[in-house]
Protein backbone atom coordinates (compact mmCIF):
# COMPACT_ATOMS: atom_id res chain seq x y z
CA UNK A 1 0.00 0.00 0.00
CA UNK A 2 1.50 3.31 -1.03
CA UNK A 3 0.95 5.75 1.83
CA UNK A 4 1.59 8.68 -0.53
CA UNK A 5 -1.78 7.94 -2.11
CA UNK A 6 -3.60 9.38 0.90
CA UNK A 7 -6.54 6.99 0.52
CA UNK A 8 -9.72 8.17 2.12
CA UNK A 9 -12.75 5.99 2.81
CA UNK A 10 -15.85 7.51 1.23
CA UNK A 11 -19.30 6.27 2.25
CA UNK A 12 -21.81 6.49 -0.58
CA UNK A 13 -25.55 6.93 0.09
CA UNK A 14 -28.14 4.70 -1.59
CA UNK A 15 -29.25 7.27 -4.22
CA UNK A 16 -25.69 7.49 -5.60
CA UNK A 17 -24.79 3.81 -5.63
CA UNK A 18 -25.90 3.51 -9.24
CA UNK A 19 -22.74 5.46 -10.05
CA UNK A 20 -20.42 3.35 -7.86
CA UNK A 21 -21.38 -0.09 -9.20
CA UNK A 22 -23.53 -0.46 -6.10
CA UNK A 23 -20.55 -0.06 -3.79
CA UNK A 24 -21.33 1.34 -0.32
CA UNK A 25 -17.73 2.41 0.17
CA UNK A 26 -15.15 3.63 -2.29
CA UNK A 27 -11.52 4.60 -1.68
CA UNK A 28 -10.33 7.89 -3.11
CA UNK A 29 -7.26 10.09 -2.65
CA UNK A 30 -7.26 13.83 -2.04
CA UNK A 31 -5.67 16.44 0.16
CA UNK A 32 -8.88 18.38 0.63
CA UNK A 33 -12.61 17.61 0.30
CA UNK A 34 -12.65 19.48 -3.02
CA UNK A 35 -9.78 17.41 -4.42
CA UNK A 36 -11.37 14.24 -3.10
CA UNK A 37 -14.65 15.03 -4.90
CA UNK A 38 -12.80 15.72 -8.17
CA UNK A 39 -10.96 12.42 -7.88
CA UNK A 40 -14.22 10.68 -7.00
CA UNK A 41 -15.65 12.09 -10.24
CA UNK A 42 -12.87 10.56 -12.31
CA UNK A 43 -13.51 7.17 -10.67
CA UNK A 44 -17.30 7.46 -10.89
CA UNK A 45 -18.18 9.79 -13.77
CA UNK A 46 -21.32 11.84 -13.19
CA UNK A 47 -21.21 11.78 -9.40
CA UNK A 48 -19.85 15.31 -8.88
CA UNK A 49 -22.87 16.89 -10.54
CA UNK A 50 -25.12 15.14 -8.10
CA UNK A 51 -23.20 16.31 -5.04
CA UNK A 52 -22.40 19.86 -6.16
CA UNK A 53 -24.50 22.47 -7.96
CA UNK A 54 -23.46 24.40 -11.07
CA UNK A 55 -21.53 26.88 -8.91
CA UNK A 56 -19.46 24.05 -7.49
CA UNK A 57 -21.02 24.34 -4.04
CA UNK A 58 -22.32 21.34 -2.10
CA UNK A 59 -26.02 21.03 -2.92
CA UNK A 60 -28.60 22.31 -0.43
CA UNK A 61 -29.88 18.85 0.42
CA UNK A 62 -26.52 17.04 0.69
CA UNK A 63 -24.49 16.82 3.88
CA UNK A 64 -20.81 15.85 3.81
CA UNK A 65 -19.23 14.62 7.02
CA UNK A 66 -15.54 14.14 7.84
CA UNK A 67 -15.16 11.57 10.60
CA UNK A 68 -18.73 12.30 11.66
CA UNK A 69 -18.39 16.11 11.67
CA UNK A 70 -20.36 18.24 9.20
CA UNK A 71 -17.76 19.92 6.93
CA UNK A 72 -19.70 23.18 7.24
CA UNK A 73 -18.38 23.29 10.82
CA UNK A 74 -14.84 22.68 9.52
CA UNK A 75 -13.45 24.38 6.46
CA UNK A 76 -16.09 23.42 3.93
CA UNK A 77 -14.68 22.23 0.62
CA UNK A 78 -11.18 23.33 1.69
CA UNK A 79 -11.18 21.06 4.74
CA UNK A 80 -7.85 19.17 4.70
CA UNK A 81 -7.82 15.37 4.71
CA UNK A 82 -5.45 12.88 6.23
CA UNK A 83 -4.67 9.20 5.85
CA UNK A 84 -7.43 6.99 7.32
CA UNK A 85 -10.01 9.77 7.35
CA UNK A 86 -13.57 8.75 6.61
CA UNK A 87 -15.89 10.91 4.54
CA UNK A 88 -19.65 10.26 4.46
CA UNK A 89 -22.03 11.71 1.90
CA UNK A 90 -25.52 11.70 3.41
CA UNK A 91 -28.86 13.06 2.17
CA UNK A 92 -29.84 16.05 4.32
CA UNK A 93 -33.53 15.26 4.21
CA UNK A 94 -34.18 13.11 7.25
CA UNK A 95 -35.55 13.40 10.72
CA UNK A 96 -37.77 15.79 12.58
Amino acid sequence: MNTMLNEITVRIPTPLRGLTQNKEVVYVSGKTIKELLLNLESQCPGILNRICNEKGEIRRFVNVYLNGEDIRFLNGLDTPLQQRDEVSIVPAIAGG
Binding site: P15, D70, R72, P91, I93, A94
Partner: protein
Protein backbone atom coordinates in the same frame (compact mmCIF):
# COMPACT_ATOMS: atom_id res chain seq x y z
CA UNK B 1 -59.89 5.98 -1.19
CA UNK B 2 -57.10 4.59 -3.27
CA UNK B 3 -57.67 6.76 -6.33
CA UNK B 4 -56.72 10.02 -4.54
CA UNK B 5 -53.03 9.45 -3.75
CA UNK B 6 -51.13 10.06 -6.97
CA UNK B 7 -47.36 9.67 -6.54
CA UNK B 8 -44.17 10.93 -4.95
CA UNK B 9 -42.59 13.95 -6.55
CA UNK B 10 -39.29 15.78 -5.92
CA UNK B 11 -40.04 19.13 -4.35
CA UNK B 12 -37.03 20.66 -6.14
CA UNK B 13 -37.01 19.33 -9.72
CA UNK B 14 -40.46 17.76 -9.99
CA UNK B 15 -39.23 14.30 -11.05
CA UNK B 16 -41.74 11.53 -10.27
CA UNK B 17 -41.06 8.48 -8.13
CA UNK B 18 -43.09 5.35 -7.46
CA UNK B 19 -45.00 5.09 -4.17
CA UNK B 20 -42.27 3.13 -2.41
CA UNK B 21 -39.98 3.55 0.58
CA UNK B 22 -37.93 6.37 -0.93
CA UNK B 23 -37.50 9.87 0.43
CA UNK B 24 -34.92 11.76 -1.64
CA UNK B 25 -34.54 12.51 -5.32
CA UNK B 26 -31.72 10.58 -6.93
CA UNK B 27 -30.71 13.62 -8.96
CA UNK B 28 -30.57 16.56 -6.58
CA UNK B 29 -31.30 14.96 -3.16
CA UNK B 30 -34.43 17.10 -2.89
CA UNK B 31 -37.20 15.78 -0.63
CA UNK B 32 -39.95 13.66 -2.17
CA UNK B 33 -43.48 14.72 -1.40
CA UNK B 34 -46.85 13.00 -1.79
CA UNK B 35 -49.10 14.47 -4.47
CA UNK B 36 -52.81 13.84 -5.02
CA UNK B 37 -55.49 14.01 -7.68
CA UNK B 38 -57.05 17.15 -6.24
CA UNK B 39 -59.79 17.35 -8.86
CA UNK B 40 -61.03 13.95 -7.65
CA UNK B 41 -60.74 14.91 -3.97
CA UNK B 42 -62.64 18.12 -4.67
CA UNK B 43 -65.55 16.20 -6.17
CA UNK B 44 -65.53 13.69 -3.31
CA UNK B 45 -65.15 15.74 -0.11
CA UNK B 46 -67.45 18.26 1.52
CA UNK B 47 -67.61 19.90 4.93
CA UNK B 48 -70.61 17.78 5.81
CA UNK B 49 -68.95 14.56 4.74
CA UNK B 50 -65.87 15.30 6.82
CA UNK B 51 -67.96 16.32 9.85
CA UNK B 52 -69.81 13.01 9.74
CA UNK B 53 -66.54 11.05 9.41
CA UNK B 54 -64.68 9.27 12.21
CA UNK B 55 -63.92 11.24 15.38
CA UNK B 56 -60.20 11.11 14.61
CA UNK B 57 -57.63 12.46 12.16
CA UNK B 58 -58.89 9.86 9.67
CA UNK B 59 -61.86 12.04 8.73
CA UNK B 60 -59.26 13.68 6.43
CA UNK B 61 -58.22 10.36 4.90
CA UNK B 62 -58.65 11.50 1.27
CA UNK B 63 -55.74 13.90 1.89
CA UNK B 64 -53.41 11.19 3.23
CA UNK B 65 -50.96 9.04 1.23
CA UNK B 66 -52.45 5.57 1.63
CA UNK B 67 -53.80 3.13 -0.93
CA UNK B 68 -56.01 1.08 1.42
CA UNK B 69 -58.04 1.81 4.55
CA UNK B 70 -55.86 2.98 7.47
CA UNK B 71 -54.93 0.27 9.97
CA UNK B 72 -52.75 2.04 12.55
CA UNK B 73 -53.74 4.80 14.99
CA UNK B 74 -57.47 4.73 14.36
CA UNK B 75 -58.16 6.87 17.46
CA UNK B 76 -55.47 9.49 16.90
CA UNK B 77 -56.23 13.18 16.42
CA UNK B 78 -59.32 15.41 16.74
CA UNK B 79 -57.77 16.98 19.81
CA UNK B 80 -59.53 19.99 21.36
CA UNK B 81 -59.25 23.53 20.04
CA UNK B 82 -59.66 25.68 23.16
CA UNK B 83 -60.85 29.26 23.18
CA UNK B 84 -58.11 30.71 25.41
CA UNK B 85 -59.82 33.82 26.75
CA UNK B 86 -57.76 34.23 29.88
CA UNK B 87 -54.46 33.87 28.07
CA UNK B 88 -55.72 36.18 25.31
CA UNK B 89 -56.34 38.88 27.89
CA UNK B 90 -52.85 38.57 29.34
CA UNK B 91 -51.18 38.58 25.93
CA UNK B 92 -53.37 41.47 24.80
CA UNK B 93 -54.95 39.77 21.81
CA UNK B 94 -58.56 39.75 20.66
CA UNK B 95 -59.13 36.10 19.90
CA UNK B 96 -56.77 33.28 20.88
CA UNK B 97 -57.08 29.51 20.50
CA UNK B 98 -54.95 26.60 21.67
CA UNK B 99 -54.76 23.55 19.43
CA UNK B 100 -54.14 21.09 22.21
CA UNK B 101 -52.11 18.08 21.08
CA UNK B 102 -50.89 17.56 24.66
CA UNK B 103 -53.84 15.15 24.86
CA UNK B 104 -53.34 13.38 21.56
CA UNK B 105 -53.86 9.61 21.66
CA UNK B 106 -52.06 7.42 22.54
CA UNK B 107 -48.77 9.13 23.51
CA UNK B 108 -49.69 12.76 24.15
CA UNK B 109 -47.99 14.55 21.29
CA UNK B 110 -48.63 15.50 17.65
CA UNK B 111 -46.26 12.68 16.66
CA UNK B 112 -49.15 10.22 16.98
CA UNK B 113 -50.49 11.73 13.76
CA UNK B 114 -47.38 11.16 11.68
CA UNK B 115 -46.70 7.69 13.04
CA UNK B 116 -50.30 6.59 12.31
CA UNK B 117 -49.82 7.43 8.64
CA UNK B 118 -46.27 6.05 8.38
CA UNK B 119 -47.11 2.70 9.97
CA UNK B 120 -50.36 2.31 8.03
CA UNK B 121 -48.23 2.77 4.92
CA UNK B 122 -45.51 0.41 6.27
CA UNK B 123 -48.20 -2.30 6.52
CA UNK B 124 -49.30 -1.64 2.95
CA UNK B 125 -45.71 -2.05 1.78
CA UNK B 126 -45.26 -5.21 3.90
CA UNK B 127 -42.59 -3.99 6.29
CA UNK B 128 -42.15 -5.85 9.58
CA UNK B 129 -39.56 -3.73 11.37
CA UNK B 130 -40.11 -0.03 12.07
CA UNK B 131 -37.65 2.52 13.35
CA UNK B 132 -36.98 6.23 13.84
CA UNK B 133 -34.50 8.90 14.85
CA UNK B 134 -36.16 10.82 17.65
CA UNK B 135 -35.84 13.52 20.28
CA UNK B 136 -38.34 11.55 22.38
CA UNK B 137 -41.95 12.17 21.39
CA UNK B 138 -41.62 10.33 18.11
CA UNK B 139 -39.88 7.42 19.84
CA UNK B 140 -42.79 7.16 22.33
CA UNK B 141 -45.35 7.20 19.57
CA UNK B 142 -43.53 4.77 17.30
CA UNK B 143 -42.98 2.31 20.15
CA UNK B 144 -46.63 2.43 21.23
CA UNK B 145 -48.08 2.05 17.74
CA UNK B 146 -45.57 -0.70 16.88
CA UNK B 147 -46.56 -2.61 20.03
CA UNK B 148 -50.26 -2.31 19.23
CA UNK B 149 -49.80 -3.45 15.64
CA UNK B 150 -47.29 -6.28 15.88
CA UNK B 151 -44.26 -4.53 14.41
CA UNK B 152 -40.77 -5.10 15.75
CA UNK B 153 -39.31 -1.68 16.56
CA UNK B 154 -36.04 0.08 17.21
CA UNK B 155 -35.86 3.69 18.35
CA UNK B 156 -32.69 5.75 18.21
CA UNK B 157 -32.42 8.79 20.48
CA UNK B 158 -29.72 11.08 21.88
CA UNK B 159 -28.52 9.30 25.04
CA UNK B 160 -29.20 12.33 27.28
CA UNK B 161 -32.99 12.67 26.79
CA UNK B 162 -35.47 13.44 29.58
CA UNK B 163 -36.09 10.32 31.73
CA UNK B 164 -39.86 10.38 31.09
CA UNK B 165 -39.28 10.24 27.35
CA UNK B 166 -36.93 7.27 27.69
CA UNK B 167 -39.30 5.34 30.00
CA UNK B 168 -42.18 6.35 27.71
CA UNK B 169 -40.52 4.30 24.97
CA UNK B 170 -39.07 1.42 27.01
CA UNK B 171 -42.46 0.53 28.50
CA UNK B 172 -43.69 -0.69 25.10
CA UNK B 173 -40.80 -3.19 24.97
CA UNK B 174 -39.15 -1.51 22.02
CA UNK B 175 -35.40 -1.59 21.58
CA UNK B 176 -34.10 1.83 22.67
CA UNK B 177 -30.65 2.78 21.42
CA UNK B 178 -29.10 5.88 22.98
CA UNK B 179 -26.55 7.58 20.74
CA UNK B 180 -23.70 9.55 22.28
CA UNK B 181 -24.14 12.95 20.68
CA UNK B 182 -26.74 15.40 19.43
CA UNK B 183 -29.92 14.55 17.52
CA UNK B 184 -28.18 15.43 14.27
CA UNK B 185 -25.67 12.64 14.88
CA UNK B 186 -28.56 10.24 15.54
CA UNK B 187 -30.11 11.35 12.28
CA UNK B 188 -26.95 10.87 10.28
CA UNK B 189 -26.51 7.37 11.66
CA UNK B 190 -30.15 6.53 10.88
CA UNK B 191 -29.69 7.65 7.27
CA UNK B 192 -26.81 5.20 6.99
CA UNK B 193 -28.74 2.39 8.73
CA UNK B 194 -31.75 2.99 6.48
CA UNK B 195 -29.51 2.43 3.46
CA UNK B 196 -28.43 -0.92 4.82
CA UNK B 197 -31.43 -2.59 6.52
CA UNK B 198 -34.87 -3.17 5.02
CA UNK B 199 -36.70 -1.32 7.76
CA UNK B 200 -39.41 1.28 7.63
CA UNK B 201 -37.60 4.28 9.10
CA UNK B 202 -40.56 6.58 9.57
CA UNK B 203 -38.59 9.81 9.31
CA UNK B 204 -36.02 8.60 6.80
CA UNK B 205 -37.20 6.33 3.96
CA UNK B 206 -40.88 6.69 4.99
CA UNK B 207 -40.63 10.44 5.49
CA UNK B 208 -42.87 11.39 2.52
CA UNK B 209 -45.74 9.40 4.11
CA UNK B 210 -44.94 10.28 7.72
CA UNK B 211 -44.73 14.04 7.16
CA UNK B 212 -48.18 14.17 5.55
CA UNK B 213 -49.73 13.11 8.86
CA UNK B 214 -48.97 16.57 10.25
CA UNK B 215 -51.46 18.09 7.83
CA UNK B 216 -54.30 16.71 9.95
CA UNK B 217 -53.44 19.20 12.70
CA UNK B 218 -54.03 21.96 10.15
CA UNK B 219 -57.30 20.50 8.80
CA UNK B 220 -58.63 20.08 12.34
CA UNK B 221 -57.85 23.73 13.13
CA UNK B 222 -59.83 24.84 10.07
CA UNK B 223 -62.83 22.66 10.88
CA UNK B 224 -62.82 23.59 14.58
CA UNK B 225 -62.61 27.29 13.68
CA UNK B 226 -65.88 26.81 11.79
CA UNK B 227 -64.19 26.17 8.43
CA UNK B 228 -62.15 29.36 8.53
CA UNK B 229 -58.44 29.98 8.21
CA UNK B 230 -57.16 31.80 11.32
CA UNK B 231 -55.40 35.13 10.67
CA UNK B 232 -52.28 33.92 12.47
CA UNK B 233 -50.94 30.46 13.32
CA UNK B 234 -47.88 30.07 15.57
CA UNK B 235 -45.99 26.79 15.23
CA UNK B 236 -42.82 25.54 16.92
CA UNK B 237 -40.05 24.33 14.65
CA UNK B 238 -37.55 21.51 15.00
CA UNK B 239 -37.04 20.27 11.43
CA UNK B 240 -39.67 22.79 10.26
CA UNK B 241 -41.79 20.02 8.75
CA UNK B 242 -44.92 20.58 10.89
CA UNK B 243 -45.04 24.25 9.90
CA UNK B 244 -44.84 23.49 6.18
CA UNK B 245 -47.50 20.78 6.47
CA UNK B 246 -50.01 22.95 8.35
CA UNK B 247 -49.63 25.46 5.53
CA UNK B 248 -50.09 22.63 3.00
CA UNK B 249 -53.34 21.65 4.74
CA UNK B 250 -54.61 25.24 4.53
CA UNK B 251 -53.72 25.35 0.82
CA UNK B 252 -55.35 22.00 0.08
CA UNK B 253 -58.50 23.03 1.95
CA UNK B 254 -58.70 26.16 -0.22
CA UNK B 255 -58.05 24.15 -3.37
CA UNK B 256 -60.78 21.63 -2.57
CA UNK B 257 -63.36 24.22 -1.60
CA UNK B 258 -63.49 23.48 2.14
CA UNK B 259 -62.55 27.03 3.18
CA UNK B 260 -62.54 30.40 1.52
CA UNK B 261 -59.23 31.82 0.43
CA UNK B 262 -57.99 34.71 2.59
CA UNK B 263 -54.67 36.14 3.70
CA UNK B 264 -53.13 34.33 6.65
CA UNK B 265 -49.74 34.39 8.35
CA UNK B 266 -47.75 31.39 9.56
CA UNK B 267 -45.20 32.19 12.27
CA UNK B 268 -42.31 29.94 13.33
CA UNK B 269 -41.01 29.52 16.89
CA UNK B 270 -37.68 28.14 18.10
CA UNK B 271 -35.54 28.11 21.22
CA UNK B 272 -32.65 30.60 21.21
CA UNK B 273 -30.31 27.74 22.15
CA UNK B 274 -31.07 26.04 18.83
CA UNK B 275 -32.39 28.60 16.35
CA UNK B 276 -30.97 27.79 12.90
CA UNK B 277 -34.27 28.61 11.15
CA UNK B 278 -35.19 31.83 12.98
CA UNK B 279 -31.59 33.08 12.74
CA UNK B 280 -31.56 32.59 8.95
CA UNK B 281 -35.00 34.20 8.64
CA UNK B 282 -33.94 37.25 10.62
CA UNK B 283 -30.78 37.59 8.55
CA UNK B 284 -32.92 37.67 5.43
CA UNK B 285 -31.34 34.57 3.90
CA UNK B 286 -32.61 31.07 3.24
CA UNK B 287 -29.17 29.53 3.78
CA UNK B 288 -29.44 27.73 7.07
CA UNK B 289 -26.30 27.75 9.15
CA UNK B 290 -26.43 24.53 11.19
CA UNK B 291 -26.04 24.65 14.97
CA UNK B 292 -23.29 22.24 15.99
CA UNK B 293 -24.11 21.98 19.68
CA UNK B 294 -27.72 22.82 20.50
CA UNK B 295 -28.13 23.97 24.08
CA UNK B 296 -31.73 24.38 25.23
CA UNK B 297 -34.20 22.80 27.63
CA UNK B 298 -36.51 22.38 24.61
CA UNK B 299 -34.81 19.14 23.64
CA UNK B 300 -37.66 18.09 21.37
CA UNK B 301 -36.79 21.08 19.16
CA UNK B 302 -33.00 20.66 19.34
CA UNK B 303 -32.29 19.91 15.70
CA UNK B 304 -29.20 21.78 14.53
CA UNK B 305 -29.56 20.75 10.87
CA UNK B 306 -33.29 21.14 10.15
CA UNK B 307 -34.33 19.13 7.07
CA UNK B 308 -37.23 21.43 6.17
CA UNK B 309 -35.71 24.67 7.43
CA UNK B 310 -35.41 26.05 3.91
CA UNK B 311 -39.07 25.34 3.13
CA UNK B 312 -40.21 26.65 6.52
CA UNK B 313 -38.54 29.99 5.76
CA UNK B 314 -40.19 30.07 2.32
CA UNK B 315 -43.60 29.44 3.90
CA UNK B 316 -43.16 32.07 6.61
CA UNK B 317 -42.06 34.67 4.04
CA UNK B 318 -44.77 33.82 1.54
CA UNK B 319 -47.52 34.21 4.14
CA UNK B 320 -46.11 37.37 5.71
CA UNK B 321 -45.32 35.66 8.99
CA UNK B 322 -42.31 36.09 11.24
CA UNK B 323 -39.83 33.82 13.01
CA UNK B 324 -38.93 34.33 16.65
CA UNK B 325 -36.99 32.52 19.36
CA UNK B 326 -36.98 32.50 23.15
CA UNK B 327 -34.53 31.78 25.97
CA UNK B 328 -34.86 28.92 28.44
CA UNK B 329 -36.22 31.38 31.02
CA UNK B 330 -38.88 32.57 28.58
CA UNK B 331 -39.75 28.94 27.79
CA UNK B 332 -40.40 28.25 31.50
CA UNK B 333 -42.54 31.39 31.71
CA UNK B 334 -44.45 30.26 28.63
CA UNK B 335 -45.20 26.86 30.16
CA UNK B 336 -46.35 28.47 33.42
CA UNK B 337 -48.54 31.15 31.87
CA UNK B 338 -50.34 28.57 29.71
CA UNK B 339 -50.93 26.29 32.69
CA UNK B 340 -52.00 29.13 35.01
CA UNK B 341 -54.47 30.70 32.58
CA UNK B 342 -55.83 27.77 30.57
CA UNK B 343 -55.10 24.66 32.62
CA UNK B 344 -52.97 23.16 29.87
CA UNK B 345 -49.61 21.67 30.87
CA UNK B 346 -47.38 21.75 27.81
CA UNK B 347 -43.88 20.41 27.37
CA UNK B 348 -40.95 22.73 26.72
CA UNK B 349 -41.81 23.04 23.00
CA UNK B 350 -45.20 24.45 24.03
CA UNK B 351 -43.40 26.98 26.22
CA UNK B 352 -41.47 27.99 23.10
CA UNK B 353 -44.68 28.54 21.14
CA UNK B 354 -46.33 30.58 23.89
CA UNK B 355 -43.17 32.59 24.58
CA UNK B 356 -42.67 33.40 20.91
CA UNK B 357 -46.35 34.32 20.45
CA UNK B 358 -45.99 36.78 23.31
CA UNK B 359 -42.97 38.38 21.63
CA UNK B 360 -44.66 38.48 18.22
CA UNK B 361 -47.63 40.29 19.75
CA UNK B 362 -45.40 42.72 21.67
CA UNK B 363 -43.40 43.51 18.55
CA UNK B 364 -46.54 44.03 16.48
CA UNK B 365 -46.02 41.13 14.07
CA UNK B 366 -49.34 39.82 15.34
CA UNK B 367 -51.78 42.78 15.59
CA UNK B 368 -53.98 42.93 18.70
CA UNK B 369 -57.20 42.87 16.70
CA UNK B 370 -56.53 39.48 15.12
CA UNK B 371 -57.40 35.86 15.55
CA UNK B 372 -54.52 33.60 16.60
CA UNK B 373 -54.04 29.83 16.94
CA UNK B 374 -51.13 28.42 18.93
CA UNK B 375 -50.11 24.86 18.08
CA UNK B 376 -49.22 23.11 21.33
CA UNK B 377 -47.57 19.87 20.34
CA UNK B 378 -46.62 17.87 23.44
CA UNK B 379 -47.44 17.12 27.08
CA UNK B 380 -45.72 18.75 30.07
CA UNK B 381 -45.53 15.57 32.11
CA UNK B 382 -42.82 14.37 29.75
CA UNK B 383 -40.48 17.27 30.55
CA UNK B 384 -41.70 18.07 34.08
CA UNK B 385 -38.20 18.23 35.60
CA UNK B 386 -37.44 21.57 33.93
CA UNK B 387 -39.90 23.22 36.33
CA UNK B 388 -38.23 21.88 39.45
CA UNK B 389 -36.87 25.18 40.78
CA UNK B 390 -39.53 27.40 39.21
CA UNK B 391 -42.69 26.53 41.16
CA UNK B 392 -43.89 27.33 44.68
CA UNK B 393 -42.87 24.74 47.28
CA UNK B 394 -45.65 22.67 48.83
CA UNK B 395 -46.81 23.36 52.39
CA UNK B 396 -46.21 20.40 54.68
CA UNK B 397 -48.17 20.42 57.94
CA UNK B 398 -49.31 18.11 60.73
CA UNK B 399 -52.83 16.72 60.21
CA UNK B 400 -54.32 19.35 62.59
CA UNK B 401 -56.97 21.91 61.69
CA UNK B 402 -55.09 24.62 63.63
CA UNK B 403 -52.02 24.13 61.45
CA UNK B 404 -54.18 24.35 58.36
CA UNK B 405 -55.84 27.54 59.60
CA UNK B 406 -52.42 29.16 60.05
CA UNK B 407 -51.62 28.59 56.40
CA UNK B 408 -54.86 29.87 54.89
CA UNK B 409 -55.59 32.58 57.49
CA UNK B 410 -53.54 35.25 55.83
CA UNK B 411 -55.17 34.50 52.46
CA UNK B 412 -58.67 35.34 53.74
Amino acid sequence: MKEFFDRLKCKECGRSYPKEAVHVCEFDFGPLEATYHYHKIKKYVSRQMIESGPDSMWRYEPFLPLEEEPTVGLHTGMTPLLAAKRLAKILGIKELYIKNDTVNFPTLSFKDRVVSVALSRAKELHYEVVSCASTGNLANSLAAHAAANGFKSYVLIPADLEPAKVIGSLVYNTRVIGIKGSYDKVNRLCSEIAGKYRWAFVNVNFRPYYAEGSKTMGFEILEQMGWKIPDHTVICMASGSLLTKIDKAYQEAILCGLVEEKPYAIHGAQASGCNPITAAFKKGTDLIRPIANPNTIAKSLAIGTPADGYYAIQTIRRTGGYAEDVTDQEIIEGIKILAETEGVFAETAGGVTVGCAKKLIQKGYIPQESQVVLCITGNGLKTAEVLKDHLNPIDVIEPHIQDFDKIVDFEK
